[in-house]
Subunit: 134 residues, 2 copies
DNA sequence: CTGAATCCTAGAGGATACTG
DNA sequence: CAGTATCCTCTAGGATTCAG
């Protein structure tokens, strides 16, 4: 529609695309897992660290800070000694849960198709192992 | 539920999480835009290049190849001179459109909230400019 | 027209040590 | 407990050139 008559130029742009805006927010390595950990309610820093396999303090803090910066997560400090810090999804963050759940659902249902396609591609074009796999 | 009685150990894992599996597929810089370009049917290489603002041949080819590898896109070559190459979403690729549209919709509706949250965060914690913005 | 091959840089992310 | 601060590696992605 945009390119109906004359204007055949680029109509798809990183800066404008809604996909890209969301991906800019959730496409980091650990972001989805942190949201995942928060989807059932508030949780403390240490428990997130324990629940998310393989995450380091640095990456956890960095991820959770960016989420807070984006307004998806609320950080609440109780000034005890030692400190107690609770993280919670904001309403904005919760509104993202539904679309993300659908994505997760797609992954659960279809990932085996993806793996099959990869195996087939490699077999077809590479004969033996590797290619895009390694 | 998984960690009800005793097992308080990590129950969220990159290797298993459905989110992460999907993100592994669509979280590259140009992937979403390429799928976007394909959502209304087959399209040729050159037209994708023209429609997607700022993409280079290298990245277009790389992105589209990975999509093909994952079974989301079908590549069809007509051996004319010069060659004609058509790209089309496979049924698997089309099945991803719905969840992605919801993500895009979320972005369109809520991105301004995100920007507002960022501005507020920066104002609160940094007084002046930069922080995570730069 | 549709790529492949090189070279290069910025930044994401890991390992480790230290702290209020 | 909940982080900071450094240092270092690795690779996604850009620029450019060549080719069937």
């Amino acid at each position: 529609m945009t390119s109906s008559a004359k204007g055949k130029q680029s109509d798809i742009s990183l800066a404008v695309c809604g996909y890209s805006r969301v991906l800019e927010i959730i496409s980091n390595k650990w972001t989805a897992l942190v949201i995942y950990a928060l989807e059932n309610g508030s949780i403390r820093y240490g428990e997130m660290e324990r629940r998310i396999e393989g995450i380091s303090k640095k990456m956890l803090t960095q991820t959770v800070r960016k989420l807070e910066w984006n307004g998806l997560v609320q950080r609440h400090i109780t000034p005890t000694v030692p400190p107690t810090v609770e993280y919670t999804l904001t309403p904005l963050g919760e509104s993202l849960l539904q679309p993300m759940r659908e994505l997760r659902q797609w992954g659960r249902e279809n990932y085996w198709h993806v793996e099959a396609a990869r195996a087939n591609y490699d077999l077809t074009y590479c004969k033996e192992s590797q290619s895009l796999t390694n």
